[in-house]
Subunit: 345 residues, 2 copies
């Protein structure tokens, strides 16, 4: 699946900033491939791109409208279907990361067929996924893990890839969620695969490599989130990571969606992730901590990073604010002192 | 989904005894509802029931042919499809626990429609599963966990239900695999649900109850199996168990399907399961150990049980050979000393 760019980013009539995460991620990380944003008059949000109509987007060169929004239940509402129709009428493909599928709406399937355009459901897992084996495979892999959902694992992963490349290392981003997949242009929507194939999907996503480059795998959920810990467990086993980077939002008091449940402590969370990871990667180690400090003033953000560094004895940073240099240093330092794992380790 | 009995059990031309697990489970636990077995001349196996043709099975009152076999990949092979057609022609419904679906074979769907008969794909998960919450819910729940796949978790669960009922307690078996679902007549195929809904599926399968009865939930996989630990993790969180029973096959040296990987020790395995379970059930405890000693002489089997008892300080038995009385004693003893959990705990 390769989704043709450039993109027109859909905001629709969304009013919740958290719900345009996918459109915002594309604007930030694939900005050069985005010609504008489409929103209704009632939408107070923007990702900072020119506001265009469907016709203007197509005229500006957009080949795909990306429905980069999340709504409760991931439903294809009538207004959303009408907008997808308008995009097809204007000559654009349509891509979606919602749970309900574009390809399950007969009117859209028919219209796309008539127009010779495509509907991309990013949440459709690949067919014929293998069952995981946990067998040692060659290559350097890093997995981002978190104290919760939506604490910045994708952002940290992309920042680490950029940081490694800036230092001359090979590094690939391996996407596991819809936003990451749209940014990378490929990946596996791990929360949508059948439960028996979670670790196998990740083994296929990040196969053996022997070029001394890094696969930076986007984590999902949290071992401490009672809704999604099964996904996080299979991801840890399939990733077979050499290194973990722990991601956290210090402003968050409770687990996302479950206000009665407190977040785990950083040390407890890291220890549990290392323990689970050891099943398939006995020598796994922690390489750093990434904090999302966007809700704090800069001096407070720096203090939070120092505090985590002292607590865990690991480099800690906010990737967006202060970069990931110290964590990349740690990765490249270990790279010099230890050869990349081979299948025969 | 209620599958009409009595059943005719299908063995086909299977030669591997492990592959007729589902037919054998039905013969053992629902023997009164099975009129016979259907097998080809080349099949050396039996579940101890009369060998019948399709026509004889239907004449003996069978309302459903159960394809109670497993084959590599769970494929609907042409010979299997031909036999399913013959069953429909003879006037029986067809039920299957294979990965590939009866309802995806157009010829079978058409014939069943013509005959007014039904095709049951036991591996189809229910639509509209909820996401798990981990919120405390009332009721007594026991989950069987294991050192590996296929170590007797279903057998132990069914024996514990029978043992509790024999002592006058209320107890229900909550099935999570295809054999268990066919035995119970309902359940959720947890390895076939979409990864995001593992714990939610189990919360729905074993909802709150306030009658002081037990839900005995069939475990799947193992936290130490790199293919399936994600399923086992979500099952632990969704089950929110008051008690765990650890299941093990002492004859097994390596993880099923992965000969290079050693099984965990009993103490290590139990500790890991208790740790994961505590996320949603802080007061979870171990209630006993069930060994499958079918490959050992009786005195050796007794020695293995004593050894596990001393190692873990828990009652241990082979449910089929020596019953589950000691574990049921433990459950009922705790039941007297501690009230059933309520949602407000």
């Amino acid at each position: 699946m390769t989704i043709p760019g450039p993109y027109l980013l859909y905001l629709g009539d969304t009013t919740d900033p958290a719900s345009i995460k996918t459109s915002r991620g594309l604007a930030v990380f694939r900005g050069d491939d985005c010609v504008g944003e489409y929103r209704h008059d009632g939408c107070p949000l923007t990702v900072g791109l020119p506001r265009l109509t469907m016709a203007e987007g197509a005229a500006a060169g957009a080949r795909t409208l990306v429905l980069g929004i999340a709504n409760p239940g991931g439903i294809m509402e009538p207004a959303l279907i009408a907008d997808a129709r308008a995009a097809l009428e204007a000559g654009m493909n349509v891509a979606s990361g919602l749970h309900q599928r574009l390809n399950h709406v007969p009117a859209l399937v028919a219209l796309a067929g008539d127009k010779g355009l495509a509907l991309f459901d990013v949440r459709d897992p690949p067919a014929d996924l293998p069952v995981g084996t946990g067998r040692p495979r060659a290559g350097r892999r890093l997995l981002t893990v978190g104290t919760d959902c939506s604490v910045g694992k994708m952002y940290a992963s992309l920042a680490l890839v950029a940081g490694l490349r800036a230092r001359g290392a090979r590094a690939e981003f391996r996407a596991t969620g819809q936003t990451g997949i749209l940014i990378a242009g490929s990946g596996v929507p791990v929360d949508a695969v059948v439960a028996d194939f979670i670790s196998g999907a990740i083994e296929q996503l990040a196969p053996a490599r022997d070029d001394d480059g890094w696969d930076v795998i986007e984590g999902q959920g949290s071992l401490f989130h009672p809704s999604f810990a099964g996904v996080s467990t299979g991801l840890l086993h399939g990733a077979q990571p050499e290194a973990l980077v722990l991601c956290h939002d210090p402003s968050r008091a409770a687990v996302r969606g479950l206000p009665e449940r407190r977040l785990p402590g950083l040390a407890e969370c890291l220890a549990a992730n290392l323990q689970v990871a050891r099943l398939t990667s006995p020598r796994v180690r922690a390489a750093g901590v990434c904090l999302n400090t966007s809700r704090f003033a800069e001096n407070e953000a720096l203090r939070l990073c120092r505090e985590a560094e002292q607590l865990l004895g690991l480099p800690c940073s906010d990737p967006h604010r202060f970069g990931v240099e110290a964590i990349v240093d740690d990765l490249l330092c270990h790279e010099r002192s230890a050869p990349a794992p081979t299948a025969s380790r």
